[in-house]
C-alpha cells in the first residue's frame, strides 16, 4: 500500500480547494443561506409545524443533503476529470499506485470537501433556527457515507465525461431534481397517495429521511431502511468503479 501516494493526491486536491475557496465553499453557503431566508424565514413563518418541528428546522437536513449531494458529485467529477482534460493524469498512471489508491486520494479529498461544506452549512443554519441533533452518531454516519458514496458517483462521472458540460449535466439534471422531489423540503405524507408511491423510487428520499431522523426522530421511511439504502448505493458505486479499473475503461487506452 502506497500511503504516501494517497496522501500526496489528497493534499494536492485539498490545496486546489483552498485555492478555489470562492467557488468551493462560498457559493454553496450563500445559496443555502438564501434558501433559509426565503423558505425558512419568509415562507416558513406562514407554514405549520411538521410533526412538531418548525418548518425552518425541518428544512435544515434537506438543505445540507442538497449541498452534500451536488457538491460531492461535482467535486469528485471535476477532481478526476481535470487531470484527464489537461493530460496530467499521465503522471498518476505512471506512478506505482493502484487504482484503489488513486480512488482513495481523489474521492477522499472530494468527500472531505463536501463534509467541510456540510459542517459550514450546519453552522450557518444555527444562525437561523434552533438546531437539535438527537442521534449525533447516525447524523455523522449519514453525512460521511453520503459524502463518500456520491463522491464515488462523481468519480465515475468524471471518468466517463468527455467534456465539461457533461460534468454539469448529472448534478444539474439528475441530482438536483431528485433532491427537490425527494422530500428535502416537505414530508412526503403531504403528497397525494400516488406521488407518495412514486417518491419511494427516489433514492434521495431514503438519505434525506434517515438524515432528518438523526436530528428530530421524524422520518418518511424507517431509519433502518435508510441505513440499508445508503449501504446499497455505496456497494453499487464501488462495484462500478471496480469494473472501471478492471477494464481500464476511459483511463488508459
Amino acid at each position: 500500500m502506497n500511503g504516501r501516494a494517497i496522501l500526496a493526491i489528497y493534499r494536492y486536491e485539498m490545496a486546489r480547494m483552498w485555492r478555489t475557496i470562492g467557488q468551493s465553499v462560498v457559493s454553496p453557503v450563500l445559496s443555502t443561506s438564501l434558501y433559509f431566508i426565503v423558505f425558512g424565514a419568509a415562507i416558513g413563518s406562514q407554514m405549520q409545524e411538521i410533526d412538531g418541528v418548525s418548518y425552518g428546522a425541518f428544512l435544515v437536513p434537506g438543505l445540507v443533503m442538497l449541498s452534500l449531494l451536488t457538491q460531492s458529485v461535482s467535486n469528485a467529477a471535476f477532481g478526476i476529470y481535470f487531470p484527464k482534460f489537461t493530460g496530467t493524469i499521465y503522471e498518476v498512471l505512471s506512478a506505482p499506485v493502484s487504482a484503489f489508491e488513486i480512488l482513495c486520494g481523489y474521492v477522499g479529498a472530494a468527500a472531505t470537501k463536501s463534509l467541510i461544506l456540510g459542517a459550514i452549512i450546519l453552522a450557518t443554519a444555527t444562525l437561523f433556527v434552533d438546531l437539535q441533533i438527537a442521534h449525533p452518531f447516525w447524523m455523522l454516519f449519514f453525512l460521511v457515507l453520503t459524502a463518500v458514496t456520491f463522491s464515488l458517483l462523481g468519480f465515475i462521472i468524471g471518468i466517463w465525461a468527455d467534456g465539461f458540460d457533461q460534468l454539469q449535466i448529472v448534478p444539474l439534471l439528475v441530482i438536483t431534481p431528485l433532491v427537490f422531489l425527494g422530500g428535502s423540503f416537505y414530508s412526503i405524507s403531504m403528497l397525494p397517495d400516488f406521488w407518495q408511491t412514486v417518491t419511494l423510487f427516489n433514492p434521495v428520499l431514503y438519505l434525506v429521511s434517515g438524515f432528518r431522523w438523526s436530528f428530530y426522530e421524524i422520518s418518511d421511511v424507517s431509519p433502518m431502511i435508510s441505513i440499508l439504502a445508503i449501504l446499497v448505493f455505496l456497494t453499487v458505486c464501488c462495484t462500478i468503479i471496480w469494473w472501471i479499473f478492471k477494464t481500464g475503461y476511459r483511463l488508459k487506452s
Binding site: T88, Y90, S94
Partner: protein
C-alpha cells in the same frame, strides 16, 4: 552491446492495437542496457510514444511482455514504475500549481518520503530554483519542459524516459539539457529519449534505435551504425573538365560519378570494406593524365542513414 552488459529493460514482441483498430506497434523487441543512453528515432506516428507509454504503464499493450530490472511491468508494476521517471512529449502541467508543490507532489506520488534537499538540488540543476514559487502558467514553454523533467527526477529514478525533451526548445537550452542528461548518465541513470533531431541522437546517445510504422528497423551502437551503414564519398575537383570517365577506370563503374559539367568526380566507397580502392583510383587517374585540383571526403551523417532506412522500408 556486449554479453556482460546488464539488460535493464526488455521488451518482447510488444504489440499495440488502439481501440479504433489502428496497429501502432507490430511486435517490438528491444533490450535496453543498464546505464546507457539510447535514442529512439522515427518519423511522426512511428510508435515511439506508444512504446514508451506501454513501458511506463500509461497504455496497456495488446500483447507481448516487458520487464524492467527483471520485474514484469504488469504483475510487478509497483517495482517497475518506482524505478522509472517519465517526461512526456506534451507539455502537460497544472497551470495553477507552484513549481515547488508540483515537483514535491511527484515525489510523494511515487511513494518516496519528503526530501526538500533533493527537490532543491533538482530545481537548481535545472535552473528552476528562482522560479520555485511561481505558478506554472507564469513560466515559458522551455521552463515548463524543465518542470516536467524536475517532476520526473523528483523520486530519484534509475531510468528516465525523455519523450522529445528538446522539441520547441532553443539551441541554448538544448545544450543545457544535454548537459543535464550527461550529468544523469554520470550518476548511473539509464536514459531513453526520442527525438526528431538527428544531431541530438548523434551528440548524446550511445545506441540508436530506429522505429518506423510500429517496427524497430535497427538498433545499433551509434558508431557502429554509422560505419556499418555509413558510406563515405570522395570528391575530386578536376583541373580540366572531362567529357567522360576515362576507360582505364571501368572497374569503378557504378561507384564513380561524373558531374554534368565534367569538373567533379565523386567516388562512393564503403569504409568497412577491406580495400577502399582509393589508391587504385588515384593511380588510374594519374595514368589517364587527369589532374586533380582538390579533393575532400564526406561521411554520411546519421540523418542520411536515417532517411535511407525509412525510405527503404516505405
Amino acid at each position: 552491446m556486449t554479453s556482460q552488459d546488464q539488460i535493464l529493460i526488455s521488451a518482447k514482441s510488444v504489440t499495440k492495437t488502439y481501440e479504433d483498430g489502428f496497429q501502432a506497434l507490430k511486435g517490438v523487441d528491444l533490450d535496453i542496457v543498464d546505464g546507457e543512453i539510447i535514442a529512439l528515432l522515427g518519423p511522426n506516428g512511428a510508435g515511439k510514444t506508444t512504446l514508451i507509454s506501454i513501458i511506463c504503464g500509461i497504455v496497456n499493450a495488446s500483447s507481448g511482455t516487458v520487464t524492467v530490472a527483471g520485474h514484469d511491468i504488469v504483475d510487478d508494476y509497483r517495482k517497475t514504475r518506482s524505478l522509472i521517471g517519465l517526461v512526456p512529449q506534451e507539455l502537460t502541467t497544472d497551470a495553477f500549481e507552484s513549481v515547488w508543490s508540483t515537483v514535491s507532489f511527484s515525489r510523494g506520488l511515487f511513494g518516496k518520503p519528503a526530501n526538500p534537499a533533493h527537490i532543491e538540488k533538482v530545481l537548481k540543476d535545472l535552473s528552476l530554483w528562482d522560479k520555485k514559487d511561481n505558478r506554472i502558467m507564469q513560466l515559458s514553454g522551455g521552463m515548463k519542459r524543465r518542470v516536467l523533467i524536475a517532476k520526473a527526477l523528483a523520486h530519484e529514478p534509475r531510468i528516465l524516459f525523455l519523450d522529445e525533451p528538446t522539441a520547441g526548445v532553443d539551441v541554448e537550452l538544448r545544450k543545457d539539457m544535454w548537459a543535464v542528461v550527461e550529468q544523469l548518465r554520470a550518476d548511473g541513470v539509464t536514459i531513453i529519449l526520442t527525438t526528431h533531431y538527428i544531431e541530438e541522437a548523434e551528440a548524446i546517445a550511445d545506441r540508436i534505435g530506429v522505429i518506423n510504422k510500429g517496427e524497430i528497423i535497427v538498433v545499433e551502437e551509434k558508431a557502429a551504425l554509422m560505419t556499418k551503414l555509413g558510406q563515405k564519398s570522395l570528391r575530386l575537383d578536376l583541373h580540366a573538365p572531362l567529357t567522360r570517365i576515362p576507360d582505364n577506370l571501368s572497374a569503378f563503374t557504378g561507384a564513380l560519378d561524373l558531374s554534368e559539367d565534367g569538373s567533379v568526380l565523386t567516388y562512393s566507397y564503403d569504409t568497412s570494406a577491406e580495400r577502399t580502392g582509393i589508391t587504385r583510383l588515384l593511380a588510374g587517374l594519374a595514368e589517364a593524365d587527369v589532374r586533380v585540383a582538390d579533393l575532400s571526403t564526406h561521411q554520411s551523417s546519421l540523418e542520411d542513414i536515417f532517411v535511407d532506412l525509412v525510405r527503404e522500408q516505405a
